[in-house]
């Protein structure tokens, strides 16, 4: 609350990529994140790539994550590339968004609507044209889901 008071605006808390859970865990990550956001009255920055990476590393259903966070607190989506290190996925922000993450992004848009989306690519940064193409791709995925939704209704 102090940070938000100092800034005079609501902040967004981002979900991490994780590689480890504890025997003593009493909550799933999405339950924990949602509870913190509720108590702090802050928003959530939903990193779709991080959900995918963690889901693979901990073998949970990424859709359960999307279903478990409060829709009214989602303020931004992040998308990024990751590395497949064999036994686990590692969040590296060094390549294009993979097909599975695009699919999960569409699921996020379906649930939370048109939310501001950022492509994170901060290692091995490609020419601007490649980044813009990736950004346009995000817009196309979003439009496809929202258009489909309108036709259905």
């Amino acid at each position: 609350m102090l940070v938000q008071e100092a800034l005079g605006r609501q902040i967004l808390l981002e979900n991490v990529s994780s590689y480890l859970t504890y025997q003593a865990d009493a909550l799933t990550e999405w339950e924990f994140l949602s509870e913190i956001a509720r108590r702090a009255d802050c928003g959530i920055l939903l990193d779709v790539n991080n959900i995918y990476v963690s889901a693979r590393n901990h073998r949970f259903d990424p859709l359960a994550y999307l279903d478990g966070v409060p829709a009214d607190r989602i303020g931004q989506f992040h998308l990024a590339g990751h590395s497949d290190r064999g036994a686990y996925l590692f969040d590296t922000h060094d390549g294009p968004v993979c097909a599975e993450v695009w699919k999960l992004y569409e699921e996020a848009v379906r649930r939370f609507g048109a939310v501001s989306t950022l492509i994170e690519w901060d290692e091995g940064v490609p020419p601007l044209g490649v980044l813009l193409k990736e950004s346009r791709r995000a817009a196309e995925h979003e439009a496809r889901v929202l258009h489909r939704g309108r036709r259905a209704s």
Binding site: T21, Q23, D25, N57, A87
Partner: protein, 265 residues
């Protein structure tokens, strides 16, 4: 995947896992007993991912807090410095932001490969900028109008506090010139091998979210130390050679929002 709940306390988990990450011993059974996982991605493999990243995160924190030291040493050498410092000092505070607090002292011992004599001063100065930025807010600021309002009778015995962001940084080398060159992308001036007999002092302070610094002469440094110690304003002003100099300094301090906590008799 194991789903058994361990009865370990949060404090025990944090202690055991932190120890494994800090020492680079991910297979330590005291840590791995807390962690879920099996097969190729068992507890030790999962802890290893973090223990490999841990020194890199420490490096990143130092890197961000010491931009001019990075420029002076170059990325590769700064990485070596972060490794050596991390090994020697370790991170002893729950906040990663506090990790750089001992770097100046570490460099003052001239560790192998880091013999340039002004490195410690540069680290001390850059750390002061960080500390000042992160210092708590001062609360109600004292203005010149507040001081004038005391009148000649109450002024001498009144006292002020320095805002927590106000720091006096003693420097044995000409760090200001070094920083100026580095920030301008010019070659770093050669450091003098000899320390100054009397360290110069720079004052660092914050207004809003911006950190400032400037040199202070000995009388002003003395006066600021007296103010910090809560000495009466008469004693603070007596550090200057003239009333005019004292008035001018008080005006600057008030304008630069360095003063708070006015106590009047």
């Amino acid at each position: 995947m194991s789903s058994g709940r361990s009865s370990s306390s949060l404090a025990a988990i944090q202690r055991d896992v932190f120890r494994a990450l800090q020492r680079g011993t991910p297979a330590d059974p005291r840590a791995s007993r807390h962690v879920r996982g099996q097969g190729r991605l068992g507890p030790a493999a999962r802890l290893r991912i973090y223990s490999e990243q841990y020194p890199l995160r420490l490096h990143d924190a130092l890197y961000e807090d010491h931009p001019n030291l990075v420029k002076l040493l170059g990325d590769r050498k700064f990485f070596a410095l972060a490794r050596a410092y991390g090994k020697a000092a370790g991170s002893r505070h729950y906040s990663l932001g506090a990790f750089g607090g001992g770097l100046a002292r570490f460099l003052s011992h001239r560790p192998r490969g880091f013999a340039r004599p002004d490195l410690a001063d540069l680290a001390r100065f850059e750390w002061a900028l960080v500390r000042s930025f992160l210092a708590p807010d001062a609360g109600a600021k004292v203005t010149m109008a507040d001081l004038a309002g005391l009148g000649p009778e109450r002024f001498p015995a009144a006292s002020v506090r320095l805002a927590p962001s106000v720091l006096l940084v003693p420097l044995e080398h000409d760090v200001a010139a070094l920083v100026e060159a580095l920030e301008a992308g010019k070659p770093a001036p050669r450091a003098k091998a000899e320390r100054s007999a009397r360290p110069a002092v720079r004052i660092v302070w914050r207004q809003g979210f911006e950190v400032f610094h400037r040199p202070v002469e000995a009388p002003e440094a003395r006066a600021l130390r007296r103010a910090r110690a809560g000495r009466p304003l008469a004693e603070v002003c007596a550090a200057f050679r003239s009333e005019q100099a004292a008035f001018s300094a008080l005006s600057s301090w008030a304008q630069e929002q360095m003063l708070c906590g006015l106590q009047a008799p």
